[in-house]
Symmetry: C2
Subunit: 174 residues, 2 copies
């Protein structure tokens, strides 16, 4: 990027300035995948994990970094398949790329890729890799909205992209 | 925050580490408001502006920082009213807090507050303050989905929180 100045190179994030505008960029990932995965029982898979930045656990769609392991050229759908299995214990036979979107364009260049996962088979307990401690929630698609509302009332942070997923699941878009 | 180490203190963002986890935090804002505003013609107000981090313009909901002007204790609904007027030219008589959500909890502690704006009156052209160059889009609510798809096909980045807004507008939730 033209005129980009490095303010601090972290291990996972880089802190940059361009024309007086500050932002962070992931250093160790070529993409971020976010999974919209519904199992045969018509349950949406959600994950809950402690987020150090917020110092509390957050309810989110399953997600992970692409190319953060040994292979920087890891295929995005294979990465999505790996992350879904690691986090939720479900293997998906059919993954479809939906859309890439910026998450918070005022402070990061992060772009997430929404992936629709179908034909799910439970292969294990999930819970993430050795560095993660993830709780899996399997919530009937028709009850997710109310389930989220209950957790929000109880003070639990919820990622708004879950509602994006609900919108697309109803519309069968994008 | 316990054990938080400052890696770099920027002017607008701080870059921190806690237990080996890196993240950024806004320095000059007590909150971020995101507006779900529909005018009397049943059009959803969207904004498009150049985002330096991405080096391209992004289609988003109107949004802005709370407490970044003279008053660090600025009321969140008054801030939302101000930002909506600045960015879109519409004054809202009726603002309602909906929900606060983390935007990208893996790399920032940023929390956005969704605000529903009703009873809109056009007061000016919008376009943002002196430092901004914002294009306003007024799209019939029932056509937003297709309008976004056309822009996505043309390569324009779209913030996924717009779909969150569409979901809530349809459901009349949260």
């Amino acid at each position: 990027m033209k005129h980009r100045t490095t303010l601090h190179a972290g291990r996972y994030l880089g802190f940059y300035e361009v024309n007086g505008w500050e932002f962070v960029s992931r250093q160790n990932a070529s993409a971020v995948v976010v999974l919209i995965a519904v199992n045969d029982a018509q349950q949406l898979l959600l994950v809950e994990q402690f987020r150090p930045a917020l110092q509390q656990s957050v309810i989110e769609l399953p997600a992970g970094l692409v190319g953060d392991m040994d292979d920087p050229n890891e295929d995005i759908l294979l990465a999505a398949q790996r992350e879904l299995l690691e986090e939720t214990g479900y293997f998906s036979e059919e993954l479809e790329f939906l859309l890439s979107c910026p998450t918070s364009s005022g402070l990061t260049d992060e772009i997430i890729s929404f992936i629709r996962a179908r034909k799910l088979q439970r292969r294990g307990p999930g819970g993430g890799d050795a560095s993660e401690n993830i709780t899996v929630h399997e919530i009937p698609v028709t009850e997710v909205d109310q389930w989220l509302s209950e957790h929000i009332r109880a003070g639990k942070p919820v990622d708004p992209k879950i509602y994006t997923a609900l919108y697309w699941l109803e519309k069968q878009t994008p």
